[in-house]
Point group: C2
Chain length 286, copies 2
């Protein structure tokens, strides 16, 4: 799920030769999660960085930073944003309560900072596009309100849908529940197992599936293929229609996805190992 916007960013960089700034919000995760230490969220951030680099971004045009490690540059931008956001706005937009800690209340201004970072670093106004999952939209709404007050362009946003969790459309992927998602560090055998166990849109029995057909709209397997792993639109339509008509069975789709996913993850994990050696080339420092 995490990979989806990053894969899209990689596509954007390839198509438009644009720069990519990747913010690792280790501060937010720490302040939001009572169960996690700063050391843990900081370490998680750099695990994410390896996944980003493994996708093949151009080190000359890709800038990765942790909120904690890059705080000097970010804080200076953040306080300019913060001065223009009332507590009332933050409460209304994010649902903060009086019981919310004061770090979380400030955080929207840290989240906003990278929208203005390229302009600050270059010394002239740079338009930015933020690809993110739809749940992040409120941050950019606030950021767009503040931008003109600071003399910057409003950032543009583009959002992707959520991939369903492996347990189906009602569940959510969760890093703490290993069966809900495939992790970039899962062994390929485990990936295959997870795919085979995943929720599908197929009938309860072969007989029912043949008679009534399946529902790709709620099918995890279908959506993984549709969003990422099957790039051939003709093939996707065949699967979709075949499922609905009861001619394509879940086993076939699972085999197809597993094969593609195992191939992807095997290559990704090799790239991820190599990423450890070049990580430093991607990091912004202040």
């Amino acid at each position: 799920g995490h990979l989806v916007p990053w894969i899209f960013c990689k596509w954007l960089q390839d198509k438009f030769d644009c720069e990519f700034y990747f913010q690792m919000t280790d501060d937010e995760k720490f302040m939001m999660r009572p169960d996690l230490t700063l050391e843990q969220t900081h370490a998680f951030a750099y695990e994410n960085a390896l996944d980003v680099i493994a996708l093949g971004f151009d080190p000359k045009k890709t800038f990765i930073f942790s909120d904690i490690d890059y705080a000097k540059t970010l804080y200076k931008i953040s306080i300019q944003v913060a001065k223009n956001v009332t507590t009332s706005t933050a409460k209304a937009v994010f649902g903060f309560k009086n019981s919310t800690n004061i770090g979380m209340v400030f955080f929207p201004s840290v989240q906003a900072a990278p929208c203005f970072l390229p302009s600050v670093l270059k010394g002239y106004n740079v338009p930015v596009l933020i690809p993110a999952a739809i749940d992040q939209d409120p941050y950019w709404r606030i950021t767009r309100d503040v931008a003109p007050k600071l003399g910057y362009y409003k950032p543009a946003a583009i959002h992707n849908m959520f991939l369903p969790g492996l347990e189906g459309p009602s569940g959510k992927m969760s890093a703490s529940k290993s069966d809900t998602a495939i992790f970039s560090v899962d062994p390929p055998k485990e990936v295959d197992k997870k795919v085979k166990r995943a929720f599908t849109g197929g009938g309860q029995t072969v007989k029912e599936h043949k008679e009534k057909g399946g529902n790709p709209g709620v099918c995890t397997i279908y959506q993984y293929l549709y969003f990422i792993f099957e790039e051939d639109n003709k093939k996707i339509k065949e699967i979709h229609d075949g499922c609905k008509s009861g001619e394509v069975f879940c086993g076939e789709c699972k085999n197809l996805l597993s094969e593609k996913l195992v191939k992807f993850i095997t290559k990704h994990q090799a790239n991820r190992e190599k990423a450890k050696d070049v990580l430093d080339k991607f990091l912004l420092k202040d």
Copy 2:
């Protein structure tokens, strides 16, 4: 007025050979004051640093930092504090409203950070004492609540009273109203003028003063002498009693204070010029 806690800190360093950490809250001033830019509050901070250095602190044991320039180290400490302070607490303690900007709401955690900074820098727990004006007390109350949760000693605090403004006990010193205070950069002639114009506790007329005596308790001149400029306790008692009995006149006290103040400020300004060359030796960097 600003100088009072710093002069006390200098006394503490001389007596106890202790380290002195001086936080310049240029971020707070910027977020609190709609009329000031970041560049302005940042520049003001370094003007304050010159005054501190001019008082004669030991460069080996004195560490000066701006919240903006030292944000990398401070932010990491601040978010640990922030995680343990609810919005509710910050509102109750500081009177924040929903209209308060989110930077001001976060700021108590930045203000708290230096209490733990020596421990962070040294890697072992260091007890700290915070000399400050009494209005700053709420910050240390919060900091003391959080300290044990982070594994640090609770900071101790010691507070000084406010010096009255030159216009008397009802007014406040204000950097934007030049007649309310003596500034460390005022020309000595201006200092003399300000002392001569200041509010006193004397009678309205010589006759009245002789008959009824004056009131040193509300007298600006007396309090400047008492708090800082007349170190001889016997002499202070003479002035106090002489004023009350109507034998010592305002003119005498004003002459005494002006002489001492002009001497102090002349020396201070020379030291302040020299401070510009050694400023860098005092600055903490991250």
